[in-house]
């Protein structure tokens, strides 16, 4: 077999006394998709940072096409043909697609006006994109942006593409398109490192799978030799059985009812005529692809975006018309935002993050009681099975899954009557996901209503009592879980009646 495109031998890395990675060997060959799997804190991020050139000082050896190499900075990695597409994309939102494609390339100034348009079209065609070149990147959908970024990487002669959870923000058909492109890249002899939390995806794309746990490689084998169950066993060490049991007896009292909810944003109708009833103790799932308006539904219910005139909301038997999130919180409504940067404060300690939404419970006349605060934060984080060395640490020091738990802890701390969750397990590892599911069921059992927007159909089918399907802002179906399947949900989401 030929030399791997990229190979890492016995890599190790410590942060202070924490061993993030030890004795990890990992390689990528031409024409293969190598999936990197592992729970939160398993060392994936550290490994990706080494490949991306974000960590220059690690133990061990890195070879590119057989030649020893060491990336001092991300640019060096790019020059060596290793392109990393992070979850946070690196395109400039206010520039056009064309400008973004050629940004940072050293080419004569004048040539930017002439020839590149044809070239740009060709570059985009390579990832199957047909775009108006002058459109600004901020006006593109997330999937399109991701493909533009991949196209740009390929343009720079990337031989190895590292895709860090590329589908976490994508809906299923968009992810589908991405997989097709990945297959093409593989056929063209590129090496692809693919990081994902979704089992179906992993087995869909992988040629080889390497599993990290506690900073070590616990398994590295051909995808065909693994199945979902054995993969999860490798990842978590033990298998957590998922109970699909219903969230107990449903209350009959209507907690929230809304009629003819419309939201127009910047002249675009985001939501059109949504009516629904939510019972106390019920988990209502909301399914929908990008632009379905599912996030807007939650934001409107939380007062974060204004509803159009003419809609009627009743919460707990009283009219409910939140003008700001402060109004919503005062009525016992809590939102877990979709984007982690909108839900945690990375530089602030865990404790402060958790209590921020319910300072009234820990403060008297505005003066925070540090003891009460620490006690409450400790109790809620223990219940969430948060793994943090200390609650005084900044949240930014925790892994993604634990950050998500902190955000959820803040929501639960305020003891909400209506909990709005926007894709709560996005980018969260299997074990943390099970914990989150457990908590959501708990909240419902205690009599609160939950509206759960999720891009993960399995999650909806596991948790929700009923699922509402939105298609381009319109409700097109609402069915009990028993009547639904993944296939049925997908076809509904895609607009089939």
């Amino acid at each position: 077999m030929s030399e791997p495109l990229l190979s890492l031998r016995s890599a190790g890395k410590s942060y202070g006394s924490t061993r993030a990675l030890s004795d990890v060997s990992f390689d990528v060959r031409a024409g293969e998709v190598h999936v990197l799997a592992g729970g939160n804190g398993a060392g994936k991020s550290t490994l990706i940072k080494i490949l991306a050139g974000a960590i220059g000082d690690f133990e061990g050896e890195l070879r590119v096409a057989g030649e020893p190499a060491r990336f001092r900075d991300p640019e060096a990695a790019t020059r060596a043909g290793v392109a990393t597409i992070h979850q946070e994309l690196s395109l400039v939102p206010s520039l056009s697609v064309l400008d973004n494609l050629f940004l940072g390339e050293r080419r004569p100034l004048l040539s930017l006006w002439g020839a590149p348009r044809a070239e740009a079209k060709r570059i985009l065609a390579r990832v199957g994109l047909e775009l108006e070149l002058d459109r600004r990147v901020e006006d593109l959908g997330l999937a399109e942006r991701q493909l533009v970024e991949i196209a740009r990487a390929l343009q720079r002669a990337a031989r190895v593409l590292v895709l860090d959870e590329p589908t976490s923000a994508l809906a299923e058909p968009e992810a589908e398109r991405l997989f097709e492109r990945i297959a093409e890249l593989r056929a063209a002899g590129k090496g692809v490192v693919f990081i994902s939390h979704r089992l179906d995806e992993i087995f869909r794309v992988a040629d080889r799978i390497t599993v990290l746990r506690d900073g070590r490689v616990v398994c590295s084998s051909a995808a065909a030799e693994l199945d979902p169950r054995s993969l999860i066993e490798h990842m978590v060490g033990e298998l957590e059985t998922e109970s699909g049991a219903s969230s107990g007896a449903l209350g009959t009292d209507v907690l929230l009812s809304l009629a003819r909810l419309r939201v127009t944003h910047a002249g675009r109708r985001m939501l059109d005529g949504v009516s629904l009833e939510l019972h106390a103790g019920e988990i209502l799932g909301v399914a929908g692809l990008q632009d379905s308006g599912a996030s807007e539904l939650l934001r409107a219910l939380f007062g974060a975006v204004p509803c159009d005139a003419g809609c009627e909301l009743v919460l707990h038997g009283r009219r409910y018309s939140p003008r700001t999130p402060v109004d919503a919180v005062a009525r016992g409504v809590s939102l877990l935002a979709r984007d982690r940067k909108d839900s945690v404060f990375p530089a602030r300690p865990v404790t402060e993050n958790v209590t921020l939404g319910s300072l009234r419970r820990v403060a008297r006349a505005g003066l925070v009681s540090l003891a009460t605060e620490a006690r409450l934060a400790a109790s809620v984080t223990r219940r969430m099975r948060l793994s943090a060395p200390a609650l005084s640490l900044p949240v930014g020091a925790l892994s993604g899954g634990n950050q998500q738990k902190v955000a959820l802890a803040r929501c639960l701390m305020s003891e909400p009557k209506l909990l709005l969750l926007d894709d709560p397990t996005r980018g969260v590892d299997v074990a943390a996901k099970a914990d989150v599911h457990h908590l959501v069921r708990d909240v419902a059992c205690s009599g609160a209503g939950v509206i759960l927007v999720s891009s993960d159909f399995d999650e909806l089918l596991a948790l929700a009592d009923r699922v509402l399907v939105l298609f381009r802002g319109r409700p097109i179906a609402c069915a009990r879980r028993e009547e639904l399947s993944r296939e049925r949900l997908l076809s509904l989401c895609m607009g089939a009646s």
């Binding site: 999130p325 402060v326 940067k341 839900s343 404060f345 921020l356 939404g357 300072l359 930014g396």
Partner: protein, 323 residues
Amino acid sequence: MSRAARTLLPLLVVFVIGCVFHQSGAFFEWSTHRALLREISVLGILACGMTLVIVAGGIDLSVGSVLSVAAVSFATLTMPKGWGAASAILVVIAAGAVMGLGSGALIARFRVQPFIVTLAMMVFARGLAKWIAGGKKVTNYVTLPDGASRTVDLPSVFGVIDSKVLGDNLSVVTLIFAACALLTWLVLARLSAGRYLYAVGSSYEAARLSGVPVGRTLLLAYALSGAFAAVAGICQAAQETHGDPETGTGYELDAIAMVVLGGTSLAGGRGGVGLTLVGALTLGMLQKILSLNAFSTEARLMLTGGILIFAVLFQRPWQRGEA
């Protein structure tokens, strides 16, 4: 190196420089440092308010001008108008807070950039100060209603603020500075409002979606900054024994320098008043050393600029590391 160590190191470096260039032992005398504490007090009070605003992710360029409005208003109320000290102090502080509220309202309600809003307030307040003072300094040489002019006694409050206690060892302005710093610490470290300030400074959207009253939080930050600027203005008037509409020009930049020198990030959401105190001491001590050694104003300005850059560059690692 820990964050505290990194903050303290510039102070230490400046201190060592002082020990080397001690100007025949003048640097080792308590009176030198006593004077230093007095000289940084007015700027330090501004820096306290500035810390609150910067933690909330903003900036307040208007503090120097608000200080001058406060100085001339205080002088006008107490001398020509003959008001009592207590009512004059209250009214002036309230006026400072109102000016801060004005900036805060524009920033919170219309989401205009703080830099622009407070720049406008800086220009507006300077004009206001000149208008109140009638284009000249407000002194105890007053014009009476009948047209005659005469010198009145300097109100005793001027003397009180400008006096020293503990056997001449501590100025009253330094005590006022300490009280302002303590209040700022209380707000940031112990009050719910402080949590909200950090949250809004870290991420406005995340704070909003957590149910933080973001508008009120911004209003509070700018109102407090305005009130602190007014307190500084009263101290300034007392020290100068008159109200000068030109006073405090450029003070906003010194105040920002003190905050940043302490290591509080201009990006918002981190830092604290303890850091600002260290920054204030560093800047003050540097000025003292330069003046002891009789550097010319030109050289002093250039050296101060250079050392500021050095100190801020030095603090970058922790800001990146914790990001």
